[in-house]
């Protein structure tokens, strides 16, 4: 599933070159439109990447995804305004705090390790079954978590906190920071790709994802793999929050703005984290940007919903499935 061969093959490289070339040409000829579309793509990719990792690898649907983004955004904003850290450092803090938070959530709720540990010593048996691959139950549980987090943030921090100013100036009437986000998105994708394909940890993750029993038999600590995967997914969600912290008003409900894009992108993208997410970003970003700009936010969301339903209808395996098919056909033909 995560062979990721598209980017290794020539066609994958070609696709990357095409995306970059289009950006270069577009920024000269129609800068504003180009920037808007690429920003929209980045938004979709960043909104979805943390969710995609947790869903694709652990089979857990994290409905508190928006609230993980909230944690990242708040941690960044607070460490910049209250502690006085420079913005890049504050963003790293935001991502780290969210990763640690995700680790705690994984131990306490998703794997039920902590409650079970306590129960073993008091009642003498496990009281919680891990949520791995229990999609519906994991949705309900994380939704409960999301309610608690949103309201908790409201109680602790009030209805809003001070925002960080948007860094950089603007080019052709478009904020430079948003253009920088496009580059950062590409960097994030590259890093995630390298992590999952080039490191031992990545190999372990992919083994666990494909066949947990066999992976366990081969000596992989799958429990630990899940734990770290969840932390990484959370950390990326937090980094998304950190990146968008200067752009959004800091309200406890800010995570909701990412939900539609994130879920639709994961549905359309399919199982593969990097290939699926980036391709569905490339597909959905322009749709969202064009419809929202032309007909308002409502039309943008309707368009995304329709795109998701069409994708589910015609691409049951998501874009990943199409890519796999295509690759097999290419390899078979040559």
């Amino acid at each position: 599933m995560m062979k990721q061969a598209l980017s290794q093959s020539r066609s994958g490289l070609g696709a990357i070159v095409a995306v970059v070339a289009l950006f270069a040409i577009g920024s000269q000829t129609a800068p504003n439109l180009t920037f808007r579309i690429y920003y929209s793509i980045s938004f979709v990719v960043l909104a979805a990447i943390g969710l995609a990792i947790i869903f694709g690898i652990m089979g857990v649907i994290n409905l508190a995804h928006g609230e993980f983004i909230l944690v990242g955004a708040y941690a960044t904003t607070l460490s910049a305004t209250q502690v006085g850290l420079p913005l890049p450092a504050a963003m790293l803090v935001g991502a780290l705090v969210t990763a640690v938070f995700g680790l705690i959530v994984e131990r306490v709720i998703i794997s039920g390790f902590v409650p079970n540990w306590i129960a073993q010593r008091t009642v003498g048996r496990d009281i919680i079954r891990p949520f791995y691959d229990r999609l519906a139950d994991s949705m309900v549980a994380t939704f409960g978590l999301s309610l608690v987090m949103v309201q908790g943030a409201r109680i602790v921090f009030g209805n809003s906190i001070d925002q960080i100013g948007v860094p950089f100036g603007s080019t052709a009437g478009y904020p430079d920071y948003r253009i920088a986000l496009v580059g950062i998105t590409a960097g994030v994708l590259a890093l995630v790709y390298l992590l999952f394909t080039q490191t031992t940890f990545g190999t372990r993750v992919r083994a666990t994802m494909q066949d947990e029993e066999t992976a366990k038999a081969l000596g992989i600590d799958t429990e630990r793999t899940y734990m770290l995967t969840f932390a990484i997914g959370s950390g990326l969600a937090g980094f998304t929050g950190a990146l968008f912290a200067p752009l959004l008003s800091m309200q406890p409900s800010l995570g909701d703005q990412f939900l539609v894009e994130a879920f639709v992108a994961v549905v359309v993208g399919g199982a593969s984290v990097v290939v699926g997410t980036s391709l569905s970003g490339l597909l959905l970003g322009p749709i969202d940007a064009l419809f929202s700009d032309e007909f308002g936010e409502f039309a943008g969301r309707i368009a995304l919903l329709v795109a998701a339903m069409l994708a589910l209808r015609f691409l049951p395996g998501g874009i990943t499935g199409v890519v796999d098919d295509l690759r097999e056909r290419l390899e078979g033909g040559s």
Partner: protein, 392 residues
């Protein structure tokens, strides 16, 4: 179709009550005993007497009963058909808004009665449309959940931008976040024959021994509808249709292999659930004489899921009981801690009791809930494998 087949193996000369019980009972519902029905009757009597003896008019409590219908709709869709839908509040809201639009345009008792039906129908049609595109479009499992979740957000976005005067249907402005005031009071019937106003019409009655008291007719209307819906759904899930639903919940592919039209069955269940949610929305709007887009918010969309998770998704009784209990708690905690409490309740219940409270109590073997001493029930139970019969 189910009644004939199931009565075939029961004694043919049953009393009417036995025939009725035969339809109401089966492996898909909890509470198949004389004691259970006695308990239910007692509960209903208590609910009828509650406003009389409790001092109030039952006005506050009627909200919980109205929401009980919404809980039942999700219990049918999620608990029996296995479709986790975050969209029940969409149908709820659509029903409420349709009621508002129709009743504002036709503020006569006949028109308002029509508005109630129109609202219920609108919920069902909305569910049928969404369900058609999902189920016949090959959307399954969690993806259905995601699509319904996204639908909620889409409808909220839509309703939020309807503040302008161009969003006026007939006489009824949609009003954006300001909501839709100015609905006529719920006055049902046909002009010239019989009409009755159900809201803001406290009746002063007199009972010997109790003395004079005031009751809210809307409370009894919602209590009656909830009871009818509960018993109706019990009949439904114990028919062959209900058995197919449960089969789909347990294993969709296998059910399809057996030759059942899985998509159509799911669509029918989803549509029925939408209609029920629509009716709930109609009553909600009629009770408050007002509706605003907050019913489409994510928070409200989760409430039915909370109720059903806590009460037990595979139990209609659990749905009703938990809806009333959770809503009662939520309103009494009030303020900013209410949401935290609801979230925590959801989290803990799904962690510790994934099946829900009512089935858990049932499994612990309260004898009056479990009685299978009546022969035809045994016969009905005997036709399903033991594992399935005990699971629900």
């Amino acid at each position: 179709m189910a009644a004939e087949s199931s009565s075939a193996d029961g004694p043919t000369s049953q009393s009417p009550i036995a025939r009725l019980r035969n339809r109401l009972e089966g492996p898909n519902t909890i509470g198949n005993s004389r004691q259970f029905w006695a308990g239910l009757a007692l509960a209903v009597v208590a609910l009828i007497a509650f406003p009389i003896l409790g001092g109030g008019t039952g006005n506050q409590f009627s909200l919980f009963l109205v929401l009980g219908l919404l809980g039942l709709s999700l219990s049918l869709v999620w608990g029996y058909a296995g479709i986790l839908s975050f969209g029940q509040t969409v149908f709820f809201g659509v029903g409420a808004y349709t009621f508002g639009i129709v009743s504002i345009n036709f503020p006569t008792p006949g028109g308002i009665t029509g508005a109630v039906l129109a609202g219920t129908l609108a919920g069902a049609v909305m569910a049928a449309l969404l369900g058609y595109f999902m189920f016949y479009g090959g959307v399954r499992d969690v993806y259905v959940t995601i699509i319904t979740l996204v639908s909620t957000l889409v409808v909220l976005t839509f309703m939020a931008q309807t503040a302008g005067s161009e969003w006026t249907i007939g006489e009824a402005p949609l009003g954006g976040f300001n909501g839709m005031p100015g609905m006529p009071l719920l006055n049902l019937g046909v002009e010239g024959i019989f009409t009755f106003q159900f809201v803001f019409n406290d009746l002063e009655l007199f009972l010997p021994l109790v003395g004079p008291f005031v009751v809210d007719p809307f409370y009894y209307l919602s209590l009656g509808l909830l009871l009818v819906a509960y018993l109706g759904l019990r009949v439904l899930v114990n028919t062959d249709f209900g058995r197919v639903l449960v089969a789909i919940r347990e294993d969709e592919d296998r059910t399809q292999m057996f030759g059942y039209d899985v998509k159509r069955t799911k669509l029918v269940a989803f549509t029925l659930g939408g209609g029920l949610a629509g009716l709930s929305g109609v009553l909600y709007a009629a009770r408050n004489v007002y509706i605003d887009p907050s019913v489409f918010e994510l928070y409200f969309a989760t409430l039915p899921v909370v109720w059903i998770s806590v009460g037990g998704r595979k139990s209609l009784l659990g749905a009703v009981a938990a809806t009333i209990a959770v809503e009662y708690l939520r309103l009494n905690i009030g303020g900013e801690m209410a949401l935290v409490a609801v979230g925590a309740l959801l989290l803990v219940s799904i962690l510790v009791l994934p099946g829900g409270v009512v089935p858990w109590i049932n499994d612990r073997g309260l004898p009056w809930l479990k009685d299978e001493s009546i022969p035809w029930i045994k016969a009905k139970m005997g036709r399903v494998p033991e594992s399935e019969a005990t699971e629900s």
